[in-house]
């Protein structure tokens, strides 16, 4: 069965959601991943949206923003931001998805400033809820396009904390949780070892280790037992196609 790179990323993201998880979903690719997880292995997952929405089943129509009318109708809860984001601080959120412009070897993510803060080369939009999700979800899953300018040795600005300088730095800063996976268009990275540095965990079909390392701004090491990312199963693709009726992600 054929599938697009984006469909493989969606399925890989869906696999990061366990049954019963409370998940900060976000927009675009992760919202489809949440739907796939619900229709396959995680029928009891719960989806949270920082504008103040909790949903069981994903919305029945394509969303441009999380506050669009289809996300409101049939919600499990339409409430305030604090009622939803407060669950992060309360320790009730199992997983959260975010994107970013830059990520470094310890999974720190920048969505704020490229270059000097006082005179940035590029002013990015900022955190939104990403810093909160990265700080307080039990597992953070980042989804990014894999380019050398985005996968850097050290980010210019830590909007959303990963393992900071590595090792125990994150727990010393008072944070639990941390990055669990980085899903890219080439591979999946996971933290490994005492330094909690991102390692290459699996390479997507059609890609290879040298290519991935060539597009990474640090000396990316493979995990022991490095494998190929499992392609979408028949059931996963069927679920994805049931959600993505318009074929936006094909």
């Amino acid at each position: 069965m054929s599938y697009s790179t984006q469909e493989l990323m969606i399925v890989a993201a869906a696999r990061e959601i366990a049954d019963g998880d409370v998940v900060f979903v976000g927009m675009r690719l992760p919202i489809v991943a949440y739907g796939v997880a619900r229709l396959t292995h995680a029928p009891n997952a719960v989806g949270l949206f920082e504008c103040g929405i909790v949903r069981y089943a994903p919305a029945g129509a394509v969303l441009y923003t999380m506050g669009d009318p289809p996300n409101q109708m049939g919600a499990a809860w339409a409430t305030g931001l604090i009622q939803v984001m407060g669950q992060l601080q309360r320790g009730r959120v199992d997983a959260g998805f975010i994107g970013g412009a830059e990520i470094d070897r310890f999974g720190n993510i920048n969505t704020s400033y490229i270059g000097d803060i006082a005179k940035p080369r590029v002013k990015l939009p900022g955190s939104g809820g990403a810093a909160d999700i990265a700080a307080m979800a039990k597992r953070l899953i980042a989804i990014m396009n894999h380019q050398k300018r985005r996968f850097v040795e050290k980010v210019d600005y830590v909007t959303s904390p990963g393992f900071l300088d590595g090792g125990e730095a994150r727990s010393k800063a008072g944070l639990g949780g941390g990055p669990a996976a980085v899903i890219t268009d080439r591979c999946i990275l996971r933290p490994h070892g005492p330094r909690k540095e991102l390692h290459l965990a699996s390479v997507h079909p059609g890609h290879n280790v040298d290519e991935v390392r060539g597009h990474t701004g640090w000396d990316l090491k493979p995990l022991p037992g490095l494998a190929e990312t499992a392609p979408p199963s028949r059931a996963e693709l069927a679920a994805l196609h049931a959600i993505d009726k318009e074929g936006v992600w094909r």
Binding site: I82, R121, S127, V158
Partner: protein, 307 residues
């Protein structure tokens, strides 16, 4: 009760001045009072501190129009396009003028408005620990939780009490009692934290309609300075049960605002040469009608009977 119904131009001119701190929408992507954004630009009110978790392209428009000195927020851009071109030009090149950014996350801004709403001196926060937000915004303080035996760092967030909050609601009476439904973001915290509140009501209803369902009241009228009757006043942002989002409008804005000249052309066409909201509605015409939600999906009857 006092009749608080006012035309938008008077509501803004009587309640907002140069240098004020203002919340323009607090629900993140829905319910952004773009009609007020445009009116502020037409009145040329400058030096504003715009406070918003995420007010989609509204903040970017105000920056490009030269109304903004400071941004206190978690995110400034265009949800459809990503980056905000005016925000970039202001921060990267100082065009049309410099803008000071007070960085927040959504949750730290929420706690600042919560503190402002309830008169708390500060709120301790576990978020933004480890984030450079706690460093680039000098308003935050680091502390240890005094109740914890083990070392437990927290960030202290000071309160925000904006001068004005402009908030769209589905319906209100002439006295400012208002119903709002759907996700609420920080609308209630903003309303309670602000010195003054202007409501943009999609519909003006009799007082009995609001009084029939007090649990749906967002803000009682005594906290409201003015009510403006502006159907579609949140366009191009969505409003639950009333309006769909005009995605094309955001995409067009993103495309043309890529250059300063493109933005200025846009500003003339959609703001400066449009005298008021009625003219804006007329200009949108069929396009606005097509965004109107005409179906009904009513909630179950909610009774407050006493016997």
């Amino acid at each position: 009760m006092k009749d608080k119904l006012l035309p938008l131009d008077r509501a803004i001119s009587e309640n907002l001045g140069p240098g004020d701190a203002v919340v323009l929408g607090a629900c993140l992507e829905p319910d952004i009072p773009f009609a007020a954004t445009y009116e502020i630009i037409r009145q040329g009110i400058g030096g504003l501190n715009v406070i918003a978790p995420i007010s989609d392209a509204s903040t970017d428009m105000l920056i490009g129009a030269g109304c903004v000195a400071e941004v206190t927020g978690a995110w400034v851009g265009n949800v459809s396009g990503g980056l905000g071109h005016n925000y970039r030009r202001a921060l990267e090149d100082g065009e049309p003028g410099p803008v000071i950014v007070h960085d927040h996350s959504n949750f730290s801004l929420a706690m600042a408005l919560l503190a402002g709403a309830h008169g708390m001196p500060y709120v301790p926060l576990r978020s933004i620990l480890g984030s450079d937000i706690a460093r680039s915004n000098p308003a935050f303080r680091r502390a240890e939780n005094p109740f914890s035996e083990a070392r437990e760092p927290v960030v202290l967030v000071p309160p925000l009490q904006p001068d004005l909050a402009v908030l769209p609601v589905q319906r209100a009476d002439r006295h400012g009692n208002a119903h709002h439904w759907g996700s609420a973001g920080l609308i209630q915290e903003s309303a309670l934290a602000a010195e003054k509140v202007i409501l943009l009501a999609d519909e003006i209803v009799d007082a009995e309609v609001i009084a029939s369902d007090p649990s749906r009241v967002l803000i009682p009228g005594y906290l409201v300075a003015a009510v403006c009757h502006l159907p579609g006043g949140a366009h191009p942002s969505p409003m639950t049960g009333r309006w769909r989002r005009d995605n094309q409008f955001f995409e067009d804005y993103h495309r043309v605002s890529r250059t300063r000249d493109g933005f200025l052309d846009w500003l003339r066409e959609w703001v400066l040469e449009v005298p008021d909201h009625a003219a804006y509605q007329k200009k949108l015409s069929q396009r606005l009608d097509d965004l109107r939600i005409t179906g009904t999906a009513p909630a179950a009857i909610t009774s407050y009977a006493v016997a």
